[in-house]
């Protein structure tokens, strides 16, 4: 069928802030969809609250709304833009569920907007676990014995019938949200209750466990002519019971015979037809009995997913792009395969390599949570590697992880983030494969392959010859691993290897295993005889990506890398991308001139640079990962474009940086370093408590704490015992009740362009990545702002920055101090770029390539509106973790709100971040003694806004004494009508609770957990509470503009 002409405007719904289970992959698919539809001449309207995405760049859609993904705002957008159709299958579960709500609210009918891709019926059929298993049984497919329950008692009945363990799976959720395994009645009750809360339709499936069976996924596509193809099969190394998103997975399936594989393939075709997904991609999951041909259907996701992004990168088949074209009427055979250009998209990719994906976890940031893998997804990112053998692809993937082995504690017996290392250890210790299989249920195929790696390592003789070394490289062993195995340094091995002329060849990912010539430059390294890189004679520059997403280094950095790549091509260079993250836009094969899907390790990067004969390499956009390579790359004679490794060190080495600040006459909190506990106490005393303590050279505020007295300090020193001359502890005077400021700037060596100044909502002490911020600042007066700009300039020149830099200040009264300077792109670059319309990363790239700021003359930011960034946290996924803010970063993503008033923007941002502020109702207040006075004003403001006040005893007393009507809520446990039950019954609409006292399980902790569980917005700082008041006020008083498209915001700028 040809393109549909009865449609001219299409609304695409994004997936919102990055959360566990829904991350950068939806920026990748959404961006592809927008591009594909515009190519076809449609007008594309986009709504997504996540500023850190390429898809929300003004060039990607015709009208871009960075607005909350709620029925309210999207209805407003539909009313204004009048799209004839909405495409909801590329924005993850968020978009899918929002589409259903828009249907149920009647909006779609009212403005007669058509759903493209999947009908409401098929979405329900796939996402409602009961309807799904009914459908499966109709077509004779088996699903594990199960029962849908809306009340815990119903679950008990099933338990009595089939026993434990049982699997709890909420409907309409993803990433295993609210999912759990129950081993007994007690566990069952709590899990079912949690599951019911997690499911937007309050329904969960309770199901017989088939933990330990093999888990497979198939990525399927269907067009309006009912042609169906399977793009990729994926085998989970971690068997059933570990969420596919947390499993190490391999593509294609490795351990199925043709008969066994075709059975799953044929099943997939029948399933997608039965569910009735009209067009686009779907992900179908199977559990396969390792001992027979039995299999169960586990689920189908009627949309592109994390796995389809992985499948796209693994095969070179752009699922999202094709899905978008199918949605507007094309048939698969009417779309050509970009990569061969000679063949149609109606085929099934043939791989001649093996792909391994390994998830990246962040348990170290949540010490209270046990690092155990279950049916609920916990990983925050992933790496992918391509090799010609399984061993090569596994080892490359492990190098891509960039793990700090200090955080790694391998356990063999239960699924956990580091089990793969435990398997290696067990093999080294001589445990046999049957036993390891018994204890892990990992298929012997994978175990035996790993055994070959171990054997190879310990059989490498110190006097290896050319052939042995070549074989070791073919197997995938890194120079480092070979060095360890032979007692040599990595450098020596690399030297010998290169001297012997043993270098990788680069092969292309071509969708067809070499049957047709490939036009698309998408490469991976391997040690064979033929190299396929077709590099013209144009000058090329290598951009290093940011590797796996992790807390503290997420999609924001990929955004900057992609812009660097765009800027390079715009200035006539070949842009060469090196990255290992399959979720991202940077690893889309048409983002850069050439893509090398490789680990961001010195070894692999150096080989790419060698093959490319590149002019230089850009490190400053990929966060800390590339920066770590700076000195090693320079030592190998690589030309590093931008800030020099020495300048980087000058900014990162505390004592050097301290001296520089003094020279430049820039104030900073007094600090000291200590190499033993005694010295630490000394320093702290001399600085005076409170102080900020942290190990040297940490990131994302890792293991950083604020300590208020000596006993707390001792506690910290004991739990971080590794203080030593080599690992000094840094101690800063903690600047209490200071406002924190973030500045992003670009420097060309002479001039400095101030990209944006952001004022944090929470006071200093809350990690910059975890605090909300507003641009432009709202409480800092002109003179101070000028001084901040002046300090920034001085620092940029003083440090020797070329390109981007980020500076953090603390401000109070008229003191301004610098707390740190990062000579690289920061997390806030995309936010600032969206808020001001000036693409900072592109600007910086042009500067790196030699242009001068005074020639470029970046435009001025539009005025008349405020932009607020609000973080989102993964607390709901980590049982027992106290949802409190501190100097250690723990947010996974952010949302942005734009409005003509700060309050309005803040309210929008919070809504977008899932913390919707109530317009009326009851506020529960319970604050620490330090804050009881300050809270009065805030409480009064809430009262004036018509809110009912409730408070804990102490707080209530203070409020009463200040003439406020307030209900006293009994302490926890005192009466059965305590605050927890009040929250449970929905008797509280907003909670203001600031922490006091140390240690776990304080009342505050219980209140915050309960609020989290029941989705009651909970504010934990007075500063944020004050902002919330403004937010609610501006909403009630209607002091907010309507929805805004970025394009019109920028147009309205002077």
């Amino acid at each position: 069928m040809p393109r549909r002409n009865d449609i001219s405007t299409i609304l695409i719904i994004g997936s919102g802030p990055i959360v566990i289970g829904q991350a950068a992959e939806f920026d990748y698919s959404g961006t592809q969809a927008c591009r594909a539809l515009r190519e076809e001449g449609y007008r594309v309207v986009l709504v997504n609250s996540n500023p850190a995405t390429i898809m929300t760049d003004p060039e990607v859609a015709d009208a871009t709304y960075i607005e909350p993904l709620t029925v309210e705002t999207v209805t407003e957008i539909i009313r204004r833009e009048r799209p004839e159709a909405v495409l909801p299958t590329l924005g993850g579960q968020t978009a899918l569920n929002l589409a259903i709500e828009l249907h149920e609210s009647g909006t779609l009918d009212e403005y007669d907007v058509e759903l493209l891709g999947a009908s409401v019926e098929s979405i329900n059929k796939a996402e409602d676990r009961q309807l799904f298993s009914d459908a499966m049984n109709r077509i004779g497919m088996k699903t594990p014995e199960s029962r849908t329950v809306k009340h815990p008692d119903e679950a008990e009945e099933l338990a009595d019938r089939i026993g434990f363990p049982l699997i709890i799976r909420p409907s309409f959720t993803l990433g295993g949200k609210g999912g759990a395994v129950a081993d007994d009645h007690a566990g069952l009750r709590t899990s079912v209750i949690e599951g019911l809360d997690a499911s937007p339709v309050g329904s969960v499936l309770v199901e017989k466990s088939v933990a330990g069976w093999k888990e497979f996924e198939l990525e399927v596509m269907r067009d309006l002519d009912d042609n169906v193809v399977v793009i990729c099969s994926i085998e989970n190394i971690d068997p059933m019971g570990v969420h596919t998103g947390d499993s190490i997975t391999v593509a294609p399936a490795q351990t199925l015979s043709d008969r066994q594989y075709q059975t799953l393939r044929s099943a997939s075709l029948r399933i997608i037809r039965e569910i009735g997904v009209q067009t686009g991609g779907s992900n179908i999951q199977f559990a396969v009995d390792p001992g027979s041909d039995d299999f169960y259907v586990i689920e189908m996701n009627p949309r592109v997913s994390r796995s389809s992004a992985l499948a796209s990168k693994a095969t070179g088949f752009p699922i999202a792009k094709i899905a978008a074209k199918l949605a507007i009427g094309y048939a698969l055979d009417e779309i050509s395969n970009d990569i061969t250009q000679a063949t149609p998209a109606s085929f099934e990719p043939a791989l001649d390599y093996i792909v391994t994906k390994i998830p990246r976890f962040a348990f170290e940031k949540f010490p209270a949570a046990t690092p155990r893998l279950t049916t609920r997804m916990h990983s925050v990112g992933e790496v992918m590697a391509i090799g010609r053998t399984f061993t090569e692809s596994l080892l490359k993937a492990l190098s891509s992880l960039e793990l700090d082995m200090a955080d790694v504690l391998p356990i063999l017996d239960e699924p956990n983030p580091y089990r793969i290392f435990a398997v290696f250890d067990a093999l080294r210790a001589g445990m046999d494969i049957p036993e390891i299989h018994d204890r892990t249920k990992i298929d012997p195929f994978f175990l035996a392959s790993m055994a070959r790696i171990v054997a190879a390592e310990d059989s490498l003789s110190a006097d290896f010859d050319h052939e042995e070394l070549n074989e070791a490289k073919k197997m995938g062993l890194s120079d480092e691993a070979i060095g360890q195995a032979t007692g040599r340094s990595t450098e020596v091995i690399r030297g010998v290897r290169q001297a012997l002329g043993i270098r990788p060849t680069f092969k292309s990912v071509d969708t067809c295993a070499g049957e047709f010539p490939a036009q698309t430059p998408y490469y991976y390294s391997t040690y064979e005889t033929e190299d396929e890189v077709e590099r013209g004679d144009n000058r090329s520059v290598v951009v290093l990506g940011s590797g796996p997403n992790r807390i503290g280094q997420g999609i924001e950095f990929d955004y900057a890398c992609v812009h660097a790549s765009y800027a390079l091509t715009e200035s006539g260079y070949d842009a060469v991308m090196v990255n290992s993250n399959p979720e991202t836009v940077s690893t889309d094969y048409d983002t850069s001139t050439r893509l090398y899907f490789e680990p961001l390790s010195a070894e692999h990067v150096l080989e790419v640079l060698h093959r490319e004969k590149a002019e230089g390499v850009i490190l400053q956009f990929g966060g800390q990962s590339p920066l770590k390579l700076a000195s090693e790359l320079q030592a190998s004679g690589v030309n590093i474009l931008g800030t020099s490794p020495d300048a980087i060190d000058l900014a990162e080495d505390r004592s050097r940086f301290g001296r520089l600040l003094t020279e430049l006459g820039i104030p900073h909190p007094s600090f000291g370093t200590a190499i033993n506990p005694e010295e630490a106490r000394e320093t702290a005393r001399s600085l005076g408590f409170p102080v900020v303590v942290r190990p040297s050279y940490v990131l994302g505020g890792r293991r950083m704490e604020i300590v208020y007295n000596e006993s707390d300090l001792d506690l910290y020193l004991r739990s971080n015992a590794d203080t030593s001359p080599s690992h000094p502890t840094l101690i800063d005077k903690f600047m209490e009740d200071y406002i924190e400021i973030d500045v992003d700037a670009v420097c060309d060596g002479q001039d400095v362009y101030i990209g944006g100044i952001m004022e944090h909502v929470e006071e200093a002490g809350v990690h910059s990545g975890d605090s909300s911020c507003v641009l432009p600042p709202i409480t800092i007066h002109r003179a101070l702002l000028e001084r901040i700009e002046e300090y920034t300039r001085r620092l940029a020149i003083g440090v020797g920055v070329r390109g981007l830099m980020n500076v953090q200040f603390v401000v109070r009264g008229d003191t301004v101090m610098v707390i740190e300077c990062n000579p690289r792109a920061s997390r806030t670059v995309p936010f600032v770029s969206k808020a001001t319309g000036v693409p900072l990363a592109k600007l910086a790239t042009r500067v790196l390539m030699g242009e001068k700021l005074r020639d470029i003359r970046p435009g001025r930011a539009p005025s008349g509106h405020f932009s607020v960034k609000a973080p989102v946290f993964p607390f709901d996924r980590f049982a027992d973790v106290d949802p409190l803010l501190g100097p250690e970063m723990r947010s996974t993503g952010e949302a942005m709100g734009v409005d003509r008033s700060f309050g309005g923007a803040f309210a929008r941002a919070l809504t977008a971040a899932g913390q919707t502020l109530p317009d009326a109702g009851r506020v529960y207040i319970s604050v620490s003694n330090r804050e009881k006075r300050a809270v009065v004003l805030i409480a009064r403001a809430f009262a004036d806004l018509g809110f009912e006040l409730a408070a804990s005893e102490g707080t209530a007393e203070v409020l009463k004494n200040n003439g406020l009507a307030v209900a006293v809520v009994p302490k926890i446990g005192e009466l059965d009508e305590d605050v927890l039950s009040l929250i449970e019954e929905g008797g509280v609409d907003l909670i203001l609770n600031t922490p006091w006292g140390r240690g776990a399980r304080t009342d505050g902790y219980l209140i915050r957990r309960k609020a989290l569980l029941h989705g009651v917005p909970c504010i934990t700082t007075l500063a944020a509470a004050a902002a919330a008041v403004q937010g609610i006020e501006s909403r009630i008083r209607g002091n907010t503009g309507g929805v805004n498209a970025l394009q019109s915001l920028y147009a309205s700028s002077p």
């Binding site: 099934e348 990719p349 001649d352 010609r388 049957e515």
Partner: protein
């Protein structure tokens, strides 16, 4: 010898270095994982990612050196019942890496063990992708694998000395059948099919029998009289190796039976039917070997993902009158299906029985069995 215990690449005991030399002199080196010695044949690559067992036992590969583009072969071992014929048809097997530690509940031996049993050479460790690209660009070629001789020049000569595929009759000798054999239908018989075996895949008979057809398997050389004497409801022309144009007598036979009995052909059977109907066949540059080729059914408009294995094809230009092209390959536009109303004969170039490959095309067996069952009931 340091890596002996560690790496399965060649350096292990019992593994020998092997040289692979093509007729154009291109040379690749690897190590045997099964068998030793020297063997020549046309080198073809298949892009199918699973199904190595079905593939090496497929008689259509008779005498060919089989290169798997999928780099890991042997993962799930050898599974009883998944073979397509007795013994191994391919002359030798080339893979990037052989998996010695297969893992599958249904497997009863390893691929290497099977190759050893039949004295077939298996070689691993060469850059199979480079070799594939070479064949893609320059066309299928004869080649020699040797563990005895490593000299490029002499091996090149041996390769050129090997008979070319063009004009080569392999079919007459691939039928494992000496006299007609009756294979009863599974369940109740609805029709009787006479099948001419030019090197048939056993899954084809399984497909027919499971649809109620009893199959009278006859050697490909059976005469028209003997075929018609059996008065079958339908005639089936099997797949098989080699150049169809070399099989004049088989074509003659078909000319005299066509019209007498509804006929359905697959692969070589399709080419022979084409020749018998007056079409021409030709040798393709490197053929179709894989399990992912899209084919359009021109009657229904539907696309099937097909299993392919052929080096020759029917020429589309000047098809005789009354001959309809029913299927087209969407990769290169080549003829994938023919139909003659007058003779009640039709055929497909690809493999609806898959094995290995997607099962999108089973309807062709339904149609055939239906068509002839109707006649049977008259």
């Amino acid at each position: 010898m340091g890596l002996e215990r560690g790496l399965d690449h060649g350096l292990r005991q019992g593994r020998e270095r092997a040289a692979i030399v093509l007729e154009d002199g291109a040379t690749f080196r690897g190590w045997t994982f099964a068998g030793t010695g020297e063997v020549a044949g046309e080198v073809v690559f298949t892009t199918s990612m699973v199904g190595y067992q079905e593939t090496i036992t497929d008689p259509s590969y008779k005498g060919q050196i089989l290169l798997f583009t999928y780099p890991l072969i042997g993962n799930y071992g050898i599974i009883p019942g998944d073979e397509e014929s007795m013994g191994i048809q391919a002359a030798a097997v080339l893979v990037r890496e052989y998996t010695p530690h297969h893992s599958n509940w249904a497997a009863d031996k390893s691929l290497a063990a099977l190759l050893e049993e039949h004295g077939v050479i298996g070689v691993e460790g060469l850059d199979t992708r480079a070799l594939t690209r070479h064949l893609r660009d320059r066309g299928a070629m004869r080649g020699v694998i040797s563990t005895l001789d490593s000299d490029t020049l002499s091996l090149k000569q041996k390769a050129t000395a090997h008979p070319s595929m063009v004009g080569l009759d392999l079919a007459s000798t691939s039928s494992q059948l000496t006299e007609p054999t009756l294979l009863p239908a599974y369940g109740e018989e609805t029709c009787r099919v006479a099948a001419l075996d030019y090197g048939v895949k056993s899954s084809i008979y399984r497909e027919l029998r499971s649809r109620g057809a009893s199959v009278l398997a006859m050697p490909g050389s059976t005469s028209a009289e003997d075929i018609l004497a059996e008065n079958p409801d339908g005639l089936f022309l099997s797949n098989g190796p080699g150049d169809p144009a070399a099989l004049e007598s088989a074509v003659e036979t078909l000319r005299s039976v066509l019209g007498e009995v509804p006929t359905f052909g697959i692969c070589l059977g399709h080419q022979l039917l084409g020749l018998a109907l007056g079409c021409e066949t030709y040798k393709m540059p490197f053929g179709h070997h894989g399990a992912n080729h899209p084919v359009r059914n021109l009657e229904s408009g539907k696309i099937e993902i097909t299993s392919q294995n052929h080096g020759f094809a029917v020429r589309e230009e000047d098809l005789p009158n009354g001959i309809r092209m029913t299927h087209r390959n969407l990769y290169d536009g080549t003829v994938e299906g023919l139909h003659s109303d007058e003779k009640r004969a039709w055929s497909v170039q690809y493999h609806p029985e898959s094995s290995p490959g997607p099962r999108d095309s089973g309807y062709l067996f339904d149609e055939f069995v239906e068509a002839i069952s109707e006649k049977a009931t008259v």
